[in-house]
Symmetry: C2
């Protein structure tokens, strides 16, 4: 028998059922609020399932998810794209916490995923340096290392929301070009100090060892600030899909600049004007002008649960859970609305709150079974607030393709189904 | 040509080449200290490898490590143990950072790894409660969640160091029953509040759904403090080897108590005296007495690099890297010695420093090519300091098997080979 009682939930914090974040901050809750536990008589024995009757399979050298989770995979487009050209997307609606499992971290490739022999791979630093240097992977691993938890988001993430009509897409299809890992590697500044920077150098051209030789120009100031040459991702060597054996990490900068399979760093006086910073990754504005070299990802958030494909099963208590991030710093606050932005309440933020890392936010919600529009609005520690779609449009219009960061909306209908809407 | 010059390394911070942690804290370094970069003439073209000449393979739904990393696997004993009985060990010497990839997280199983259908799995809460409750996995996922980064260490980790003579083992074989994940789940206190705790309840018996029905008694105070029923590990659903679909996390408590495949929580007035808290996981002392119910893992650390199997390639700069952790709180300090404990210098600690989570520490070391004995000594924020082996022996002797946490030593010989020694 499902328990129907819903004891004291506390005062609402915003309209349409949003509850106070004290639920999370104080750990006090909402006893029986979900009604999800089923009463059972204590004399009723728990079924002994088949897997308790015989020993299970043995150990594996490298473990995998349960076969029952086979639907939790990255999604990528079928042909006509050649294999490995385009992007695979993280199924954010099936994940929790802050870390993205490396097997599910989105990837963007221009010419497939190269199969690099680390013993043959070389990284060269040249151009406006006093001493050109070549590194083997083993040589790089001799240097002092640094670890940091950081997001990488493709500059083209969420571009589906530029469409005039809201498309029937889920969170992976719209926002799935986002991942977060604990990255470990060598500070680029260490190697540039060793090479010796010529005074006229201002930029670093980073080139990958894929067949596209994907290249981007990086300000030398960023290279000397917090750039890392990553050898490790979530504890193990970087995955091939994310740049094995060496990936450039530029914390907070758009994903494309975090060059994978890094083979070359050339110091120059000016930017190289590569394909990916001219024909792509410039932001076309309403007035036919364009922004070029817009590097940091602006403050942003998305609700991952509830979201399209995860239907609510009847009125009652739900946790609204999502991610917030900013390439300019740390997340200071996330507000959540269940009435399309008419009223807001602050969500609980899951620590640790780290700069240029995503933060999991959580809000308690008592769904009354009626229509609702769920939104989240992030603020970072520079004071930047995620804009509404109208504010975003007023500044940039919808031709920009890149760096879409407006507040997103999920409509919940009376059946508990969620859908992408503009609200 | 390998560059031989070793410019200013700064003053030593301790004997036998230990350098100041300012190298890490200030990011100033040690220009050219490793001699690892190879000079190259700028006219010398970088080889274009085969993987740049054709597009690489396409995307995969669930990614895997590079085939060149096939040696990075958990290690587990061959028969005569039945498959899946015993433990598989994390290859800590091949990893970096704080997070353990889920595929490499150690496992301890008593009857293999059960293949549990999450739709059939049930968790019951009964015994001294007002309302016995049964939960499906889906029902559990309705509750408010919490994430935390936490280590799990088997209480029997490092027991090889109880042997009278130091064994020729590497870090995985000695210390590899240690892992760290970002765990996400429901606070156990939330569910116990819903069930309603009878006043005479003091313990919770936790039982797994493996064929061994592995069980432990947990103090109710811990259950109501920071215990989590985890559904997610490093962002995705908990791996089968680590308790899919529901694992009990008791942050800081010995691994065996973090019951996997959790099916039953029974509230009782006293402990159940299960096999794993009587015949095992009690600590036999010198005087024939034993400590029972020793739950938190005491402060501990281990150097993962250099370590046995990772030979140094000639004198010069090396980073000494390792992990420190405490089940009683946060790591406050780690000291490193290269002369077998005669002199010590504080290591750089990699943030975020979180309670009951491992901390990566790093020390810069200029190896002069002579013999050295590397040690690390952790201190936690309760003031507990990792004991020397002699101090550990004086208190407990070596019959205890469990909770060995004395300072460990790697000897480096003139060939750069590392070996396990008592020093």
């Amino acid at each position: 028998m499902i328990r129907k009682t819903h004891p004291e939930l506390g005062d609402p914090a915003a309209g349409n059922g949003i509850l106070s974040r004290r639920v999370f901050l104080e750990g006090t809750l909402v006893v029986g609020a979900t009604g999800a536990g089923l009463s059972c008589g204590s004399a009723e024995p728990l079924a002994v399932q088949p897997w308790m009757k015989v020993p299970g399979p043995g150990f594996a050298g490298y473990g995998q998810p349960s076969p029952f989770e086979s639907k939790v995979v990255k999604v990528f487009p079928p042909p006509p794209n050649p294999p490995g050209v385009g992007a695979s997307r993280t199924p954010l609606h099936m994940l929790e916490g802050m870390i993205t499992p490396s097997g599910l971290h989105f990837e963007r490739s221009h010419s497939g995923v190269p199969e690099i022999d680390p013993d043959q791979h070389r990284l060269v630093i040249h151009g406006l340096v006093k001493r050109p240097l070549v590194f083997t992977v083993e040589a790089l691993s001799r240097y002092p290392m640094q670890s940091r938890i950081a997001f990488i988001e493709c500059g083209g993430n969420s571009l589906a929301l530029n469409a005039p009509q809201a498309q029937p897409l889920n969170v992976a299809a719209i926002h799935g070009l986002l991942g977060c890992s604990e990255w470990t590697g060598v500070r680029l500044s260490t190697l540039l100090d060793e090479a010796g920077i010529e005074p006229e150098a201002r930029w670093v051209i980073a080139e990958g060892a894929d067949a596209a030789a994907m290249s981007r120009s990086i300000p030398l100031t960023k290279a000397m600030d917090d750039a890392l040459l990553c050898l490790y991702q979530n504890g193990e060597r970087v995955r091939p899909s994310n740049g094995y054996p060496v990936r450039l990490l530029l914390p907070g900068f758009e994903g494309n600049m975090n060059v994978k399979w890094l083979r070359r760093l050339k110091l120059t006086a000016g930017p190289a004007m590569t394909k990916d910073e001219t024909s792509k990754y410039t932001i076309l504005l309403k007035d036919e002008k364009a922004w070029q070299f817009v590097f940091p990802i602006e403050v942003k958030s998305v609700i991952t649960r509830p979201s399209p494909g995860l239907a609510l099963r009847g009125p009652g208590f739900y946790e609204i859970s999502g991610l917030a991030w900013s390439g300019n710093g740390s997340i200071r606050q996330v507000d959540v609305s269940a009435d399309g932005g008419r009223s807001w309440a602050p969500a609980a933020l899951q620590g640790p709150i780290l700069p240029k890392a995503p933060v999991r936010f959580r809000t308690a919600w008592q769904w009354n079974g009626g229509p609702a529009v769920l939104q989240s609005r992030a603020t970072d520690d520079t004071g930047m607030v995620q804009p509404t779609r109208a504010q975003f449009a007023a500044e940039r219009g919808f031709r920009g393709v890149y760096h879409y960061n407006a507040i997103a909306s999920w409509r919940i209908d009376e059946m508990g189904e969620a859908s992408n809407v503009y609200a």
